[in-house]
């Protein structure tokens, strides 16, 4: 059990900006301009894509395998829209390939 000060400071910063976003919406009386409403709608799409793509290959030399299983997971997400099933199928397939000694 340890708590580092520099980590705690990052958490408090994250807490502040998150609470700020949540509170600002409940506070604001004037509506946002349409351009910024549309901007906000695209934020999750853009940020999620930015989080996903560079994280797929990994650093264990299994890039090809991970790209292919990610595509399979995306297909499962598209058909079922169930988070745990998407992760299970993607991770499970990745593991089965690993188990059979495939390393690509």
């Amino acid at each position: 059990m340890s708590l580092r000060l520099e980590i705690l400071l990052v958490f408090l910063g994250m807490c502040a900006v998150t609470f700020g976003s949540r509170y600002a919406g409940l506070m604001l009386r004037a509506p946002l301009p349409p351009f910024w409403l549309r901007f906000l709608r695209f934020v999750p799409i853009s940020v999620f894509a930015a989080l996903i793509i560079p994280a797929i290959p990994g650093d264990q030399g299994e890039g090809v395998m991970r790209v292919l299983t990610s595509l399979l997971a995306a297909f499962v997400a598209w058909r079922t829209r169930v988070l745990w099933l998407t992760v299970l199928v993607g991770f499970g397939t990745f593991w089965i390939l690993k188990f059979f000694g495939i390393h690509a």
């Binding site: 853009s46 560079p54 690993k98």
Partner: protein, 224 residues
């Protein structure tokens, strides 16, 4: 309402395992769930800690990931009359799921809103602890490919959001931008830069469309 918890549980566990693999202690992993209570940004922060990103870029990325809550607040503020203190409390615990449940119901009261929010808060934190303890058992998380859970989880989150051609264009361009930026910008900052440019692109591409409310079906499904 039950399926929402089903979505929260694996996401909380996956976050906690990722955070432990990134070198955060059990206490730190749980504390982040209490203080931030926003799945996507906690997940991405865990990844950023693993890559040794600067604290400030983690905070900036968190801001960008969570600024969408502004939309929910704007919408809820019109639906429910809240006192000042009620506003502070319901803002702290506001999530995609709570917003989705309230809007999908006929109840419009502070009590109902807070009930939805707190039940999600409790399950999020309980399963963070479960995942954090499970993460302690895993000896060599990187060798096992635990870091792969992160892009897989976000794939499950982004796919339902891609409903129009413009959505797909923004996602594709953002993915390419992030790949390039991650090579030339300090860790974590590339996500923030991509998010700003990608969202500007989206707002510009849809300049002829009328503004829309956040989609209720998405809110109920999304676990972020």
């Amino acid at each position: 309402m039950f399926p929402i918890y089903l979505g929260v549980i694996p996401f909380a566990v996956a976050y906690a395992v990722t955070a432990r693999a990134a070198g955060l202690s059990v206490l730190e992993t749980c504390l982040m769930s209490v203080l931030v209570f926003a799945g996507a940004s906690q997940f991405s922060a865990a990844g950023a800690f693993a890559s040794g990103a600067a604290g400030l870029t983690i905070v900036f990325t968190t801001f960008l990931l969570n600024v969408r809550h502004l939309l929910y607040g704007l919408s809820l503020g019109r639906e429910i009359k809240l006192s000042n203190s009620e506003r502070v409390v319901s803002a702290y615990f506001l999530t995609d799921e709570a917003y989705g449940v309230v809007m999908a119901s006929n109840e419009r009261s502070f009590a109902f809103l807070l009930g939805c929010e707190l039940s999600l808060f409790v399950s999020w934190n309980v399963f963070t602890l479960v995942g954090a303890l499970a993460g302690s058992i895993i000896a060599e998380p990187t060798k096992l490919g635990v870091d792969f859970i992160f892009p897989l989880s976000f794939t499950a989150l982004i796919v339902p959001l891609l409903k129009s051609r413009n959505d797909v264009i923004v996602a594709g361009m953002s993915g390419v931008m992030a790949l390039i930026f991650s090579k030339i910008l300090p860790g974590g900052f590339s996500i923030f830069a991509t998010g700003v440019i990608g969202s500007l692109l989206g707002a510009w591409l849809t300049r002829s469309e009328p503004p829309t409310q956040p989609n209720l079906e998405d809110m109920k499904r999304e676990v972020a």
